[in-house]
């Protein structure tokens, strides 16, 4: 049985100028111990998907519909109290901006201990000791000293490590990482990716990583889901996705990203573009959401929403004219 099963997730927001369909019917699963990446550009709904799983969408502005089954329980049906017991404990999340994800007026040690005392019932002393352990685990030098420091005294890379420590403190079964390295410098990003590789094997958690960076996906993911305009367009194991993409959008993304070292192989020319731009989530799109920009478009694409079809046992595409 999969660890997490998201079924027909829809998250809509009510705004002043209409309904914003951020996520419009997305289904996928995450199995224990595996790393699934959700890839897409801005506005595709990937971050909203992550927030919806943990129900971090305020009721006053957004509604979530569908089923999110975690270890047999539908998260959307749980009372908030039980949801809180799951957050940080069985499912935890790390966010993009390390600068703003930590409370600036509380020490690192306090923030780490808080989650340990809450979910695991440790005493203050026990929690502090475990916090120092966690900081060592994520590779922070002088953890005993750092535990007493405030977030502003740490660099961006360190703060992201603290976030990872926070997330892993209660040994969650699922870790959701929303653009964890986007705000970091590339050499620091390399450090964090290396850390995540190590922790993947030792912590045994399943990881759902949200990113727009195909390089990060290639390095860390087992399976990849490609989202566009609130819908899922392709899903495949990572090698199959990169070697034999089936959806024109995936192909376009892969072609549009320049590869380091391409100039040396004389394999360059213009970067291949995807013409046009991502549709606004407030628009109602009839038919395939990618039709307006697709080179393989036909009349059918503009009328009928393509459904997700399996092209092989583990490769799914939503396209009338898959490659």
């Amino acid at each position: 049985m999969p660890l997490l099963s998201v079924e027909n997730l829809r998250t809509h927001f009510r705004t002043a100028d209409g309904i914003l369909r951020a996520v419009d019917g997305v289904s996928f699963t995450v199995n224990a111990g595996e790393t699934v990446a959700i890839v897409g550009e801005s506005g595709c709904g990937k971050s909203v998907t992550a927030n919806s799983i943990l129900r971090l969408i305020p009721e006053s502005i957004g509604k979530i519909a569908g089923r999110i089954v975690f270890e047999g329980r539908d998260l959307l049906g749980l009372p908030i109290k039980q949801m809180r017991q799951i957050r940080g404990n069985e499912i935890s999340m790390i966010f993009q901006e390390p600068m703003t994800s930590l409370n600036p007026v509380l020490t690192i040690g306090y923030q780490l201990s808080e989650t340990l005392r809450l979910h695991q019932g440790l005493t203050a002393a026990q929690a502090l000791a475990r916090s120092v352990e966690m900081l060592t685990l994520v590779g922070i030098p002088e953890p005993a000293k750092r535990v007493r420091q405030y977030p502003h005294q740490l660099s961006g890379g360190m703060r992201q490590r603290v976030m990872i420590a926070l997330a892993l403190a209660c040994s969650p079964k699922l870790l959701i990482a929303d653009e964890p390295t986007t705000a970091l410098d590339v050499t620091i990003q390399a450090q964090i990716l290396e850390l995540m590789h190590e922790l993947k094997s030792s912590a045994g958690a399943a990881i759902l990583i949200i990113t727009h960076d195909l390089g990060v996906v290639a390095e860390i993911a087992d399976r990849v889901i490609v989202m566009y305009a609130g819908r899922k367009v392709e899903e495949a194991p990572v090698e199959k996705l990169f070697r034999t993409p089936q959806h024109p959008y995936t192909q376009g993304l892969l072609d549009a990203a320049p590869k380091l070292g391409a100039s040396l192989k004389n394999s360059e020319g213009r970067l291949s573009e995807i013409p046009g731009m991502v549709p606004s989530p407030k628009e109602t799109i009839v038919g395939c959401s990618f039709a307006a920009r697709c080179a393989r478009v036909s009349q059918r694409c503009r009328e009928v929403v393509p459904s997700l079809e399996p092209k092989s046992a583990d490769h799914f595409v939503a396209c009338h004219h898959a490659i």
């Binding site: 999969p2 079924e7 027909n8 829809r10 998250t11 809509h12 009510r14 002043a16 209409g18 309904i19 914003l20 369909r21 019917g25 289904s27 996928f28 699963t29 199995n31 595996e34 506005g43 509604k63 519909a65 569908g66 087992d222 399976r223 899903e235 194991p237 606004s280 989530p281 407030k282 997700l308 399996p310 046992a313 583990d314 799914f316």
Partner: protein, 301 residues
């Protein structure tokens, strides 16, 4: 690692929106629904403005006409709001008093905005003047506005012009501080750098790039200044340091009824109610404008 095949969700695919479609109504009614505070505030203010402007035609008598025979009468059909201790009709006094309050409120708001804008622009742009101007502003702000106004009135005769001047001086520092902070933050915007690189002179940058973007917060602040000025004027008149007795203001009316408010509360009640309503209207308008004019420039989605 072998990837277990994903079972495709095979249940019924529900479509459709999770919210009822918003009726995209254009026009006046939609505007009111979207900005109820602005609508309410301006409606109230408009009513009071009408009452003030058309006071002579709204069944009033001379507000200063003494009528000793009818002193201190409670509200009746003859005197809708009753009479004060000199027999003057309160209804007329309140309506004419509205003129004073509104005139002071608006004129102070306008003048302090202009002066504050100029001072804020200068101190925000010409760095060496910043310290000087801001220290003077700090000095003025450290004195409670009402005391400042009283002190200034003590130096001058009591007349409506002098009330206007003293209250304006008391209100300028807040506006100047606001404009300065807006200017400082606008200066950091890349489009200002773009304008510099495009060869625009500093005065034109202020005129074309800074001012239009500074107007919105300034307008909001002006409404709060208006409310504050009205209260200050009422206080000044209440203690006798405001407009001369020949020009009734709500503060003066309340002052007249001060001694007898326990037995004749209507003398204070009506001007107080009007003052409160007017202040409320102005504040509502200010709040509504602040929300409406919020920087929505980055419509990112």
């Amino acid at each position: 690692m072998s990837a277990t095949p994903t079972p495709i969700y095979s249940g019924p695919i529900e479509q459709g929106d999770l919210f009822p479609a918003a009726r995209k109504s254009r026009g006046f009614l939609a505007l009111i629904r979207r900005h109820p505070t602005i609508a309410l505030g301006s409606a109230l203010l408009f009513v009071i403005l009408i009452l003030a402007i058309f006071a002579p035609y709204l069944w009033t008598v001379d507000p200063n006409a003494l009528s000793p025979a009818h002193r201190g009468r409670p509200p009746s059909l003859r005197n809708w709001f009753g009479t004060d201790l000199f027999g003057r009709d309160l209804y007329s006094r309140v309506l004419y008093g509205a003129r004073v309050s509104l005139a002071i409120g608006f004129s102070v708001a306008v003048m302090s905005s202009i002066v504050g804008l100029v001072l804020g622009l200068i101190s925000g742009f010409i760095r060496w003047t910043d310290a000087i101007i801001m220290r003077v502003m700090d000095g003025l702000m450290s004195i409670p506005p009402i005391l400042l106004a009283i002190a200034l009135m003590a130096l001058m005769q009591g007349s409506i012009i002098n009330v206007f001047v003293s209250i304006t001086i008391a209100e300028i520092p807040r506006v100047a501080r606001l404009v300065r902070s807006v200017v400082l933050s606008l200066r950091e915007q890349p489009y200002i750098d773009g304008a510099i690189a495009a060869g625009t002179t500093t005065p034109m940058i202020i005129w074309r790039h800074v001012l239009p973007n500074a107007i919105a917060p300034l307008i909001v602040q002006a409404t709060y200044v208006c409310a504050s000025a009205m209260i200050l004027e009422a206080i000044l008149s209440f203690i006798g340091a405001g407009t001369p007795p020949s020009l009734p203001s709500w503060g003066t009316i309340m002052s007249d009824g001060r001694a007898v408010w326990q037995i004749k509360p209507y003398i204070i009640l009506f001007p107080a109610a009007f003052l409160s309503l007017t202040i409320l209207a102005v504040n509502l308008l200010g709040d509504g404008l602040r929300d409406a004019l919020d920087p929505r420039m980055a419509k990112r989605f």
